[in-house]
């Protein structure tokens, strides 16, 4: 099929090449012909050699170009010696097919010869086929302009500020949780004010983490220390959140208040969705009630399967807390996380190895317009209690206590069908220690000897501030490795790296104080 065209062009090439020497030589006689043949053979060998050297096929037809005065059209490319274009005379072919007695229409089309020619063309490459930085910048300008236009058409017309309220306190997992919130808030495309309420007073530790976000933050400290049980902790967190809401009221911050608990994970769509709230909204929260004990998890799963088999008519319990709607998308109630399977087995103390259960209604699933909290705001609805006169001793469990009429809550995220954030509580043991600011300074007190050091004998050097320490199993020599040596080992014996890595995660049975509790937690988590 298409191969035959190639074959044809190849034959044409051959005939072309044999035509050229006859045009070169003026005298065509017998001896001339054998001379020509020999000359052609020599030329062929020469071209083969040149091709060998160059590495690509060197076409003999370069000579054809040099010597011939043919009238074929040439689309020459600057870098490639290329084959001549077959100029199909569209003109004559059209006329040949023209049935003699047909109208003038066909004649007219046949007389125009096409500018576009069929055949082999050169591949045009410009002298410097690489990106031009000026043009790249211009293109980015165009992309920005297009995206700006898209935003004005499809995006938010006017976006409200997001006021994030986070209760926190200094503990081992604080850096982990708070960094997650920092990154989520940094990605929010709207203005953000972050109110961080800290139990145990405002510390530098927390201050450093939140300062890295580059957002506008309000760091409030309260004197009480965080208690050790989950129940008391959630009560204190409620108190801390109310403190934050008081700050909103006093500063007259205008925006949408959302509760970003430090161990929760938020999706970006959550921030887009809450922009739609008018006064008081609720979203669905995925509840990850996780216990550190793997066996526990398996058992509870088996139990759940049993329960499902027994009660087939009951709907499956989803780990979601959020609004429940009827078919016309009106709020009729709330889905709450089913705590029955965990009855009696949930964690009481913060470092218990059991599932941590959420409250009946977690604060993080609610968002409110900050004007609800102000003393005086126009169009404030009547079904909201005045925040200033809220009596905390009556027990504020969930933000619904701020409302007189809970049915006026707006369900967001297509009426709760989208789970936009996840609730999780993970904490370390109460006695776990961690280096303040997560900077190892001063150096560790106890170092563990290495077993069968794979690297060549290195005289032990005094420990320096910037070095890597690796927990290794028992051995004879001291472990300290200055950085330069490491690089040397990298270059020389890359294979050893893997051996070292294999040793790393296995915890030592002895004794660096820093590692003991965290290694035990590694077993559990």
């Amino acid at each position: 099929m298409k191969l035959s065209a190639l074959h044809q062009s190849y034959l044409n090439r051959r005939s072309n090449s044999f035509r050229s020497p006859t045009s070169l030589d003026s005298s065509v006689d017998g001896s001339g012909k054998s001379l020509i043949a020999v000359f052609w053979l020599i030329l062929h060998c020469l071209c083969c050699l040149i091709s060998l050297v160059l590495g690509f096929r060197f076409s003999r037809l370069v000579f054809f170009f040099l010597f011939s005065t043919s009238s074929t059209n040439l689309y020459s490319a600057p870098f490639r010696p290329d084959l001549p274009v077959k100029h199909l005379d569209v003109h004559t072919i059209g006329r040949n097919l023209d049935p003699g007695a047909n109208g003038t229409v066909a004649m007219a089309t046949a007389t125009k010869s096409s500018r576009v020619v069929v055949g082999r063309h050169g591949i045009r490459i410009r002298p410097w086929p690489h990106p031009n930085p000026v043009e790249v910048m211009k293109a980015h300008g165009i992309i920005e302009r297009v995206q700006k236009e898209q935003k004005t058409i499809f995006g938010m017309k006017s976006s409200k500020m997001v006021i994030a309220v986070t209760p926190t306190y200094v503990r081992t997992f604080q850096a982990l949780h708070l960094t997650g919130v920092v990154h989520s808030l940094m990605l929010v495309p709207y203005d953000v004010v972050w109110i961080v309420v800290e139990a145990g007073g405002a510390t530098n530790e927390t201050g450093l983490i939140i300062a890295k976000s580059g957002l506008r933050t309000i760091h409030v400290g309260i004197d009480q220390r965080m208690p050790n049980t989950w129940e008391d902790r959630s009560k204190l967190e409620v108190f801390m959140r109310l403190q934050a809401l008081r700050v909103v009221r006093e500063e007259k911050l205008d925006g949408i208040v959302m509760f970003a608990d430090d161990s929760n994970m938020h999706s970006m769509e959550f921030f887009d969705e809450i922009q739609n709230v008018k006064w008081f909204g609720t979203v669905s929260v995925g509840i990850l009630a996780h216990s550190g004990n793997a066996e526990e998890m398996v058992m509870s799963m088996d139990k759940r399967k049993e329960m499902e088999k027994e009660e087939e008519e009951e709907s499956s319990s989803l780990p979601v807390q959020g609004p429940a709607c009827n078919s016309t998308d009106q709020l009729i109630g709330w889905h709450i996380f089913n705590t029955l399977p965990y009855a009696g087995k949930s964690a009481v103390y913060i470092d218990d190895v059991a599932a941590v259960l959420p409250q009946k209604l977690e604060w993080s699933g609610f968002v409110l317009n900050s004007r609800l909290l102000w003393e005086e705001a126009e169009n404030k609805p009547e079904w909201v209690k005045d925040f200033g006169s809220l009596n905390e001793n009556e027990g504020v469990e969930s933000p619904l206590s701020l409302l007189k009429d809970p049915s006026m809550v707006e369900p967001l995220g297509s009426c709760g069908r989208q789970v936009l954030l996840w609730w999780l509580r993970v904490e370390a043991r109460a006695d776990s220690k961690f280096p303040p600011g997560w900077i190892i300074d001063p150096p560790l007190e106890i170092t563990v000897a290495a077993k069968r050091t794979p690297w060549p004998d290195v005289p032990p050097e005094p420990p320096t501030k910037k070095k890597d320490q690796m927990p290794l199993s028992q051995g004879n020599t001291v472990v300290v490795i200055p950085k330069q040596q490491q690089h040397a080992t990298k270059i020389r014996k890359p294979k050893r790296r893997s051996k070292k890595n294999k040793h790393e995660p296995r915890p030592t049975d002895t004794t660096t104080q820093v590692y003991s509790s965290s290694s035990k937690h590694q077993e559990r988590n």
Binding site: L97, A106, I143, R145
Partner: protein, 417 residues
């Protein structure tokens, strides 16, 4: 006096309000612009009542049996011929009385003889067409009355009625002699080319509407790819040296821009092809072995500005759609400077092109939905046919006058099918 002036002001306000509403077509909330081509504002014209089409009842060996043998014909890019017949059979423009018909349609599926790979073989198509025409010429008097000048055929293959996939062979054959007077509805269009005759209607290739609809992403997703293209640059199987395929244009695109971060081009087949097009500002639509491609349809549906690299191409419905305003045309010789050309387009022009592309009537005109919807490609074909009415006097032959040569063409074509 005062009351009348107030009434006047009120009316004026209303008028301006209404006119702004009509200037905007808020579908999926994007402002668009009206499209008017050289034939005027005709994309939304309704052909019903402006023409009558008679559909010949050919034996099923010309259509249904072929489709039955290979149902893949319903999904490939040449499926327009099949859907056209289905549409006409149930359309209000159809008439059962051939005496009152303005146009006659011959439903013969010439592009349904597929290889195992799915590519259509055109070797039997001339004979099939000839046999169909002989049938209608002998059973009905309408062919001989005009020698086919008021008949139309759908020939969606690579080079239309030249019935070959290779350009040189197609040019060598030319349009089938028997179709010299008929109106051809084809996807191929190139100016001053043998295989495009005067008066043909160029249509877009078939692209499956449901498949494209199912891959739509939210319109607010920001367009972050500058230029997008997926496809071959070198056809190694048929043209290993390069320079033949696409007249070297695709290879030039690759060689010049393969390391340019603005150009997201490769030969891969990603599953997110449609989604990626919706995130791109420009989509390249270079020629291949033939100048047309379904990429144009995809680019229009997904709002990506088509960059057409095919010299002298005639785009679908060229009299109804102002392609110069909508797409960017780049000569094949200017391909090495494509980045300069695209970055020097002013942003206002780009935004205007995007607004034109967002017009739902533009997108509808490129599709062949089943069942047919107003403004789709079927209706545009009928509009095109309606614009050619009334027929000239020369269409009707005097008795005994014969213009077609029934024995012209290669000898192999004269064998019965």
């Amino acid at each position: 006096m005062k009351l009348s002036s107030w009434v006047l002001i009120f009316l004026l306000c209303n008028l301006t309000f209404l006119s702004t509403i009509s200037a905007f077509r808020l579908s999926r909330s994007q402002p668009t612009e009206r499209i008017s081509g050289s034939a005027g504002d005709v994309l939304e014209d309704n052909p019903v009542g402006r023409l009558k089409v008679f559909v010949y009842e050919l034996p099923s060996k010309y259509n249904k049996k072929i489709l039955h043998k290979d149902p893949r014909c319903l999904n490939h890019m040449f499926a327009a011929e099949i859907y056209m017949q289905r549409f006409l059979l149930s359309s209000p423009v159809r008439t059962l009385n051939p005496e009152e018909a303005d146009w006659f349609y011959v439903p013969v599926y010439t592009t349904c003889d597929l290889t195992p790979n799915g590519l259509p073989l055109p070797f039997k198509s001339p004979r099939m067409m000839r046999s169909a025409i002989q049938l209608i010429a002998s059973n009905w008097p309408y062919w001989n009355r005009t020698e086919g000048a008021d008949h139309f055929f759908v020939v969606p293959h690579d080079f239309g009625a030249c019935f070959h996939y290779q350009e040189e062979k197609a040019i060598g054959r030319g349009i089938l002699p028997l179709l010299q007077r008929a109106t051809l509805v084809q996807t191929f269009g190139q100016r001053n080319h043998v295989c495009l005759k005067e008066g043909s209607i160029t249509v877009p290739p078939y692209a499956p509407p449901q498949k494209m609809q199912s891959h739509l992403i939210p319109e607010k997703t920001p367009r972050s790819i500058f230029v997008y293209f997926r496809g071959l640059f070198y056809d190694v199987g048929n043209d290993p040296e390069g320079g033949y395929y696409a007249r070297g244009a695709r290879a030039a695109v690759w060689e010049n821009f393969k390391d340019n971060p603005l150009f997201d081009i490769s030969t891969e087949h990603p599953t997110t092809y449609y989604e990626d097009m919706q995130r791109a500002i420009f989509c390249l639509c270079p020629l291949g072995w033939a100048p047309w491609s379904p990429r144009l349809v995809e680019a229009v549906i997904f709002g990506c500005i088509p960059v057409i690299i095919a010299d002298d191409i005639v785009l679908p419905f060229a009299d109804a759609i102002p392609w110069e305003d909508i797409g960017v045309f780049v000569d094949e010789k200017d391909v090495p400077y494509l980045d300069t050309i695209l970055t020097s387009i002013p942003p206002e022009v780009i935004l205007r092109k995007q607004r034109l592309l967002a017009n739902p009537s533009m997108k509808q005109a490129m599709l062949f939905p089943q069942p047919a919807q107003p403004g789709d490609a079927f209706h545009q074909v009928l509009n095109g046919l309606a614009r050619k009415l009334p027929h000239e006097r020369s269409v009707y032959l005097r008795p005994g006058e014969k213009l077609l040569n029934w024995t012209a063409g290669p000898v192999a074509d004269l064998k019965p099918w």
